[in-house]
């Protein structure tokens, strides 16, 4: 099986990797037909290299003048198109739109309360006592009795409730809070 013609064209130009070049070289040693094809490509390359001169008697001054004229025509046409278009006042719009979006979102959040997706919990009612107080959580809703952070606070599960106690440094009184579930 002979390699494709394009492979011999690349081979002739020295543009193949070493592995492909090695494989094609091995094929060449045994295939006279492909050797002929490669020689044809090499001949064409030599011919092209030998005929890459510019036409004789080329007027460089005239060619440069024509190119300058074409550039001026292009610039003039661009200005005509620009003058016809209305200037876009994008800056005030870019400033106002995000602010409007935030205000609108805030307004919607205040007036629209979609039904809460209730998270699945291990049990229906959970009571918790932490350093911030006691809390009753029930199907996405919660009731908490808070207390200020206090070094002298205690918490425990007391019967069917949880309890926390703290010393109110403002009044000097101890306050004890419970939450209960029925």
């Amino acid at each position: 099986m002979h390699p494709e013609e394009s492979q011999w064209a690349l081979y002739a130009g020295g543009e193949l990797g070493w592995w492909k070049r090695w494989r094609l070289s091995a094929h060449l040693r045994e295939c006279a037909q492909c050797r002929g094809q490669l020689e044809e490509f090499r001949r064409w390359r030599r011919w092209l290299r030998g005929n890459d001169e510019l036409p004789a008697g080329l007027n460089w001054g005239r060619l440069a003048a024509e190119m300058r004229a074409n550039i001026r025509v292009g610039l003039a046409a661009g200005e005509c198109v620009g003058a016809a278009a209305e200037p876009v006042r994008w800056r005030p719009a870019a400033f106002a739109l995000p602010v409007l979006a935030v205000v609108l979102a805030g307004f919607l959040l205040q007036v629209w309360h979609p039904p809460l997706r209730r998270p699945a919990t291990a049990a229906g009612v959970v009571l918790a006592a932490t350093s911030t107080g006691v809390e009753l959580r029930q199907q996405g809703a919660a009731l908490a009795v808070l207390h200020p952070r206090s070094e002298q606070s205690s918490r425990m599960a007391a019967g069917d409730a949880v309890r926390t106690g703290y010393l109110d440094s403002d009044t000097g009184y101890v306050t004890i809070s419970h939450v209960y579930a029925e």
């Binding site: 935030v102 205040q110 309360h113 291990a122 049990a123 009612v125 000097g172 009184y173 101890v174 809070s177």
Partner: protein, 375 residues
């Protein structure tokens, strides 16, 4: 950042804050409802810092209220309990705020702070929170109130503990002088180990499957002169969770007992102990002399150290913390029983001990001695 951009950012932040947070109409959100014949009256209510915030589709209300109450009764008030109901938010759920160890003279006013947070799925009409009077305890241990939360017994326990502790410190002052009293009070200010607790009334406190569930027996700590003897008890333990602790008791006294509570401690694998809970009596009837009964907490309780670090339960200890005889008299452990080194290290100071320690901390030893002489 250019001036125009700064202005835009500021405007956006203000707009967001306006949209998300608003001053809650606390006066209409919270309704204080005391009976007409109540021995206390609401003189003023400060609704200062109440706020409501949108949290996604839910609404969070922070209600910070300080009620100023006046004692209308001819006796001194020793304690008060307010019942907090939020039926529109948590049906069946309720909360209470108690202030024990008071000494409010007739005609005198005193403050009660209510700091509540409610999270509810959507807006609704009508007051969200109702605050009612559940009970007032006077200096002669008489009581006024509907007692819906059985607060009378607990308030009496707190008052008896306060009297016991004041007697003890007066005795220390007499026997050891001011320096002896100072040493005792400084001991109160020492840090006690504390745990966060989460209680689930049905099923497990967490959704995680149990891996090493086992029944752990209670060590029974029988205090001297206790009317009931702890016989045995156990709880199903799995990691940091204990389920349905149950402790059996035997009435060793000569009087029937109407109610009792068994407090229990848990121990971690390093031997550190924490006060965990109190299991109430379940009988619902008098326990006759020589009869057995049980205290049970029908719940799954999960414990963690402050900050959320889990705790492994290695052992449980129970002791009788209160008992009420059929005639209404209440027993609490005496000071010598609580002087057990193990309990002293674990049990938090009583409400009165905390109050006395605060007087010492803020006003010094002289003020504390004056306070002890008062009553």
């Amino acid at each position: 950042m250019s001036m125009r951009n700064k202005l835009a950012v500021t405007l956006a932040a203000v707009a967001t804050a306006w949209a998300q947070t608003a001053v809650a109409p606390a006066a209409s959100t919270l309704k204080v409802n005391f009976p007409k014949d109540a021995p206390v009256a609401v003189i003023a209510a400060d609704w200062g810092e109440s706020r409501q915030t949108a949290r996604g589709s839910a609404l969070m209300l922070d209600l910070h209220t300080a009620l100023s109450l006046r004692n209308l009764a001819p006796r001194r008030i020793r304690g008060i309990t307010l019942l907090v109901l939020a039926q529109a938010v948590t049906p069946g759920g309720k909360a209470s705020v108690s202030v024990p160890c008071l000494d409010v003279q007739p005609g005198e006013t005193f403050p009660v702070r209510l700091d509540l947070r409610l999270l509810r799925p959507s807006a609704g009409a009508g007051p969200l929170v109702e605050v009612e009077l559940d009970g007032v305890l006077f200096d002669d241990l008489s009581f006024f109130g509907p007692n819906r939360l059985n607060c009378r017994r607990q308030m009496t326990v707190w008052e008896l503990e306060a009297r016991r502790d004041r007697r003890y410190y007066r005795a220390v002052l007499e026997a050891q002088g001011p320096e002896g009293l100072r040493r005792q009070i400084l001991e109160l200010l020492a840090e006690r180990p504390r745990l966060d607790v989460q209680v689930s009334r049905s099923g497990r406190a967490t959704a995680v499957a149990a891996t090493h569930e086992q029944a752990v027996e209670f060590a029974c700590l029988n205090l001297p002169r206790a009317p009931l003897e702890l016989v045995r008890g156990e709880a199903v333990v799995s990691g940091s969770e204990a389920r349905t602790p149950r402790i059996e008791v035997l009435n060793r006294s000569s009087r029937p007992v109407r109610y009792f509570e068994v407090a229990w401690l848990l121990r971690d694998p390093l031997g550190e102990e924490f006060l965990a809970g109190a299991a109430p009596a379940t009988a619902g009837r008098n326990v006759a002399p020589g009869e057995r009964a049980a205290a049970v907490q029908e719940a799954a309780l999960r414990f963690s150290r402050p900050g959320g670090r889990p705790l492994s339960i290695a052992g449980l200890t129970g002791f009788l913390s209160q008992a009420e005889f059929a005639d209404g008299e209440i027993w609490i452990p005496d000071r010598s029983a609580l002087d057990d080194t193990r309990l002293r290290r674990v049990l938090p100071p009583s409400a009165e001990q905390q109050r006395l320690a605060e007087i010492y901390r803020r006003h010094g030893l002289g003020a504390l001695i004056e306070e002890l002489k008062k009553r």
